[in-house]
């Protein structure tokens, strides 16, 4: 009776024990960082000897932290818009089109997601050095777009495959042009897929570090690159403050997603 929770006997306790320990293992480091960011110890002693906001003040006083945050935000927003638009157009082509090699094409579109990022990072770095895009905002956007697009295509294709095309056909029969039917009937119906695509694209770019390390220049770097460069020198609590803000953003996004999902369902 291993799949009946009430009839597992003492095994139930063991399973619950392992699950709760694992949940704690996953959760505690996140909480730990948040606690440390308010601790007064430069050496990250835990529990902290006192509480302070000075790491946040230091973070906000340093223009390089602010600049890199702004750069990250700009790139992530542009990538999100492009990724959703391109994902939308491509997904329509992939789900509605009847052509040879459709599955192969779909697989090609998803490859950047499964290949080791470091290979793409190094390859694009070399390529951008040659065509003069190295260290530019455009270079960042292009490389993050390549990484974000598969998530966008996957989300929107899933939504489109779950949508009954005969509704769109009905709109055309009622006099709408095919484009109008897609824009005014299908698009609202797959809005949850578009929303997921936007969230995934944003996070892919916002959190991305490996490609960003290679794309960045002394004058242009993203927040993860700034954290990476700082961490290579020392474990300063300022990074704890920056990480806590990132964690807060994650929680906010998760809540937003939950709210939107609930709103779309009802």
């Amino acid at each position: 009776m291993l799949l009946n929770f009430d009839r597992l006997g003492w095994w139930r306790l063991a399973l619950i024990g392992i699950t709760l320990t694992t949940a704690a293992f996953l959760l505690l480091p996140v909480l730990f960082i948040a606690a440390l960011s308010f601790g007064s110890s430069q050496w990250l002693i835990f529990p902290p000897p006192g509480w302070t906001l000075k790491w946040y003040q230091e973070l906000l006083a340093d223009p390089r932290w602010l600049e890199s945050t702004w750069t990250s935000f700009q790139i992530a927003i542009i990538v999100t818009v492009l990724s959703v638009l391109l994902g939308l157009v491509t997904s329509f082509g992939l789900t509605r089109g009847r052509f040879m090699f459709r599955e192969a094409l779909k697989a090609l579109f998803l490859t950047p997601m499964i290949l080791p990022v470091v290979v793409l990072a190094v390859a694009l770095y070399a390529f951008f050095l040659q065509i003069g895009l190295s260290g530019t905002l455009t270079g960042f956007v292009i490389s993050h777009l390549v990484l974000a697009l598969p998530f966008s295509i996957l989300s929107i294709t899933n939504a489109l495959e779950g949508f009954d095309k005969s509704i769109e056909d009905a709109a055309v029969l009622c006099g709408a042009s095919p484009l109008e039917a897609r824009l005014r009937v299908t698009l609202p119906a797959i809005s949850h897929g578009i929303f997921s695509a936007a969230v995934f694209s944003f996070l892919t770019s916002w959190d991305e570090v490996v490609v960003a390390i290679f794309m960045s220049s002394p004058t242009l770097q993203t927040l993860p690159v700034k954290i990476w460069a700082t961490l290579r020198q020392d474990l300063t609590p300022v990074v704890a403050a920056a990480s806590t803000l990132l964690i807060l953003l994650t929680v906010l996004l998760m809540v937003l997603v939950a709210v939107v999902r609930k709103g779309l369902k009802s």
Partner: protein, 291 residues
């Protein structure tokens, strides 16, 4: 009707437009982007491995003939294997528990899994750098309860990388495994119990074999993802446990040796693609990319 009228008026321009736009054309912008900024750069990089510094397979001979580089390959496989093994060992019971738990508790655990997965990778790695350092909480607790006298070296070595990477990979093995166990019909295990199987017998001879395809697919995915990892090994590992991704970065960034960098990238690509081919062949496409 409207579409028909359009087609007819479109026919007037037939000489200008050789054919009607099709749904295939919609995929062209993305295809162009991918060919120009993905396929082409990777192809150029790989080509440089056989053209620089001089044409030939010299880079590969050096890469596969040197004990330093072979140790890095071996280390990459050891770390990935260890991470996969530990993730599976912890992930199976957790996925199993999640599949049969009252949904209220399970949904809390799921929220924690997602929070962890979505938290910035560097923030999570930083947490472990702090937790595992000599004066860190883990060492303090271990000394406090009298388990050890001196702080253990937990970071900049194999222990640090394994803990940090298992932390990242756990959700990727728990979520697909949960899906597989969820689909197993409880009646099969009921039948096993009715036929007199003990719990151990049911576990080893019924539940584990039924969950095996999911375990193999999840393990393979975690293994492949681990092979190409860069950030966590670089921050939590020592110089003695360098992994392949770091080697590629080093060839390009510090040594500016594009030939060797390209060769190492090709090795990583070939291994990755070969393992994905195995996955596609035996487990289908549905779990690609860990979503």
């Amino acid at each position: 009707m409207a579409s028909q009228t359009e087609t007819e008026s479109g026919a007037a321009y037939a000489p200008l437009r050789a054919r009607r736009p099709t749904d295939f054309d919609l995929t062209l912008p993305a295809l162009g982007l991918l060919i120009l900024f993905f396929v082409l750069p990777v192809a150029i990089l790989l080509t440089r491995s056989v053209t620089e510094p001089q044409p030939g397979l010299g880079n590969y001979a050096e890469l596969l003939g040197s004990s330093t580089y072979l140790r890095i390959f071996a280390n990459t496989f050891i770390v990935s294997g260890l991470v996969t093994f530990v993730s599976l060992l912890i992930g199976f019971p957790v996925a199993w528990a999640l599949a049969i738990m009252p949904s209220r508790i399970a949904s809390i655990v799921f929220a924690i899994l997602l929070l962890s997965m979505w938290t910035n990778l560097l923030a999570r790695t930083y947490a472990w750098m702090v937790l595992l350092q000599r004066t860190g909480v883990i060492n303090k607790v271990l000394i406090g309860i009298g388990l050890i006298d001196k702080p253990l070296p937990l970071v900049n070595n194999l222990t640090g990388v394994t803990i940090g990477m298992t932390y990242i990979m756990l959700p990727f093995i728990i979520l697909p495994l949960y899906g597989v166990i969820r689909k197993i019909d409880p009646a099969i295990l009921q039948a096993a119990a009715l036929c007199g199987a003990t719990r151990w017998q049911s576990l080893v001879r019924v539940l584990l074999p039924l969950a095996m395809p999911g375990m193999a697919a999840g393990a393979l995915m975690v293994f492949v993802m681990s092979l190409g990892y860069f950030v966590t090994p670089a921050l939590l590992g020592g110089t003695a446990n360098m992994m392949l991704a770091e080697l590629i970065a080093q060839f390009v960034q510090s040594l500016v040796n594009w030939g060797m960098g390209g060769a190492a990238a090709l090795v990583l690509l070939v291994v990755t693609l070969a393992l994905y081919a195995v996955q596609l062949r035996f487990f289908g496409t549905d779990r690609m990319g860990g979503r």
